[in-house]
């Protein structure tokens, strides 16, 4: 790390930051509808986004600053194992092609804002809906915290993070400012702010990756050279484990882990509230299907980005904290001004998802905890007000989390969050296709999955941590090492199926289903489907 502040890079960074701040506040005027005081307006951008806005919004949402820092950092640390992010994002699109249009249709027909809304409507169970909502909020919080970790990494490398002996307030001031600004425009503009800023973010990201993937290999003597050096580095023994640091291709033992991580993460991704928020904000069912054919462009970018991890090794970057590897690579290889552009890309890349995530978590709280349990007759205006306030609270919570606790705590929780959120899959995706499963069985399956996942993750040790040392453990009965989330998911499904048979046999009361089969295929323009501004709270039209 260079000593002192990198002035040029910092100036460029601040320029972009100011530009998106202005955009964020102006966004509330963009495509404004008449009734601003509804959750559909603030929390779903009026459900009006077309193919391209949705594409940027989803891309900005799913490929976060943390992704940009963590994926190459994982490659930098251990090689091939970190590349699972690529097959993971490949598998996501066929999956969403299959089930998201159905969720879109039923949500538009009934005015659902969150996944829990759907689960409650489908299974007539507030308990199950609450379980899905709480899981969603719990899984999203650490994710927001990690976006802050991403900004911190960039600030550190630019030299504005302060040294060891700097007063904590001065040290964290830049982060506090960044987050204050983010909170303010999310509060005033809702989902429109990240949707607009996502354009800037992704344009910057694509430029940076394109330049990095051409410029850096030229400076390092080509890919042959890069991989040769990386291979050498991985072969060296790690003193902490007594094993080689990593490998260029996964060995036999690592293949189960690789495949289960890819599949489990793919299944989990669209269970996250923020992905659903971005999806439901789209204008029509077709927008979603069309998007599955253009979203893979991001996967390609992610693959290229992952290769930067090898370049960091070949460039001789030495960092104690792996998260700093990529920002450090940029600072070492790029001229100062372009390093500033790259840092701005990562910084803004943190703001977009953080905004969407806090909106999504706030929507869940408002719709499925506040309205269902606290104030049943809340008006749309009240809902919006609560949501805005909660979005602030969520962000303050995430900030406090990052500032007071060790970074590894946020990473541990994010890992757990991925395992947890996958446990809502049977109720949500299962519910979209069949109502065969019993609501109590789904709740029991969820509980078993959550419990098993948490306990198993707690038991994973790594050289640096006694607990939560990773997301893979031995799969009971198979003996291979696999992703805990997927094992928990299989258990969850088994429990759900078995209990459904039992509950049906004893004729346990089923909840009331307020949806009908045709709701799942309805499209904008069909009778009863309002393209914009459905009335909130009205179950049926």
């Amino acid at each position: 790390m260079k000593d002192g502040v990198n002035g040029v890079a910092l100036a460029v960074f601040i320029f972009f930051f100011l530009a998106v701040t202005v955009m964020g506040f102006l966004a509330s005027r963009w495509r404004r509808a008449e009734n601003e005081n509804s959750l559909d307006e603030w929390g779903l951008g009026g459900r009006s986004f077309g193919t391209w806005v949705t594409w940027f919004l989803l891309g900005g949402d799913l490929y976060t600053a943390y992704t940009f820092v963590a994926v190459p950092a994982a490659i930098y640390a251990a090689g091939a194992a970190g590349f699972f992010a690529v097959p993971y994002t490949i598998l996501v699109y066929p999956l969403i092609f299959t089930f998201l249009p159905r969720l879109w249709s039923v949500s538009h027909k009934h005015g659902y804002v969150t996944t829990s809304d759907f689960v409650r409507g489908r299974f007539g169970s507030k308990g199950l809906s609450l379980a899905v909502a709480v899981t969603g909020i719990l899984a999203t919080m650490p994710y927001i915290a990690l976006q802050l970790v991403g900004i911190q990494a960039v600030l550190d490398v630019m030299g504005v993070g302060g040294g060891e002996d700097t007063h904590w307030f001065i040290k964290d001031l830049p982060l506090l400012i960044a987050f204050g600004v983010l909170a303010a425009y999310t509060y005033s503009s809702g989902l429109r702010a990240p949707a607009l800023i996502a354009f800037v973010k992704d344009t910057l990201i694509y430029i940076v990756i394109a330049v990095a993937i051409i410029y850096i290999p030229i400076k390092l003597g080509g890919f042959d050279e890069i991989f040769a050096k990386a291979s050498e580095a991985y072969a060296q023994t790690n003193p902490a484990t007594g094993k080689p640091r990593g490998s260029l291709v996964p060995g036999d033992a690592g293949q189960w882990t690789y495949a289960t991580l890819a599949l489990g993460s793919a299944l989990a991704l669209f269970m996250y509230p923020h992905s659903i928020t971005a999806t439901l904000s789209s204008r029509s069912r077709e927008v979603i299907r069309r998007n599955t054919t253009i979203l893979p462009l991001y996967s390609l970018m992610l693959g290229l980005l992952a290769l930067l991890g090898f370049m960091a090794i070949a460039a001789g970057i030495q960092v104690k904290n792996g998260q700093l590897a990529i920002p450090q690579l940029f600072e070492t290889m790029f001229p100062d001004w372009f390093a500033g552009v790259a840092f701005a890309a990562i910084g803004i890349g943190a703001l977009v998802p953080a905004a969407i995530m806090s909106i999504a978590a706030a929507n869940l709280f408002t719709r499925n905890i506040y309205k269902d349990f606290i104030k049943k007759d809340a008006t749309p205006a009240q809902e919006t007000k609560v949501s805005k306030l909660v979005s602030l609270l969520v962000k303050v919570g995430a900030l406090a989390f990052v500032l007071t606790m060790d970074k590894t705590v946020a990473i541990n929780f994010q890992l757990l969050g991925g395992i947890w959120i996958l446990q809502t899959f049977p109720a949500l995706v299962g519910g979209l296709f069949t109502r065969w499963m019993h609501r109590w069985a789904l709740l029991a399956g969820w509980a078993v999955g959550m419990l098993y996942g948490t306990v198993a993750a707690y038991g994973v040790a790594s050289p640096t941590q006694k607990h939560f040392g990773g997301s893979s453990a031995e799969i009971p009965g198979i003996g291979e090492i696999g992703y805990i989330g997927l094992t928990a998911f299989v258990l969850n499904v088994v429990v759900t199926v078995v209990l459904t048979f039992v509950l049906k046999a004893v004729k346990a009361p089923e909840g009331v289903d307020e949806t009908s089969p045709s709701d799942y295929t309805a499209d904008a323009g069909d009778k009863g489907v309002q393209t914009e501004m459905p009335k909130l709270g009205a179950g049926t039209h």
């Binding site: 091939a80 590349f83 690529v86 097959p87 994002t89 490949i90 598998l91 699109y93 066929p94 999956l95 092609f97 299959t98 159905r102 080509g222 890919f223 042959d224 050279e225 890069i226 991989f227 260029l248 291709v249 996964p250 060995g251 036999d252 293949q255 690789y258 495949a259 890819a262 599949l263 299907r289 069309r290 599955t292 054919t293 893979p296 462009l297 996967s299 390609l300 693959g303 290229l304 290769l307 296709f433 089969p517 045709s518 799942y520 295929t521």
Partner: protein, 84 residues
């Protein structure tokens, strides 16, 4: 898993089988890790393991596009025959 029994009539037509295959193929390719966990052959200095998976990003995109087009065809045929 991909399932294409959407719509009022869940009949399996050859078209829908093709759609299902297009959506299912990436799962087979990507989860069969041992089929691509090797270094050779290199492409522009990049080991097979990496470029093969990136190639699959493109292949799966094409497959999803085909599925999308076929799906539109299927929907049009269904609506035409529906006499609504």
């Amino acid at each position: 898993m991909p399932e294409v029994t959407q719509g009022k009539q869940g009949t399996i037509t050859p078209l829908r089988v093709v759609i299902a295959l297009c959506l299912f193929a990436p799962f087979v390719a990507m989860l069969w890790v041992s089929s691509y966990a090797k270094t050779e052959p290199l492409f522009a200095g990049i080991p097979f393991f990496y470029w093969y998976q990136m190639l699959w990003v493109l292949i799966s995109t094409v497959l999803t596009m085909v599925a999308y087009k076929l799906w539109q065809l299927d929907q049009r045929a269904r609506k035409g025959g529906d006499a609504r």
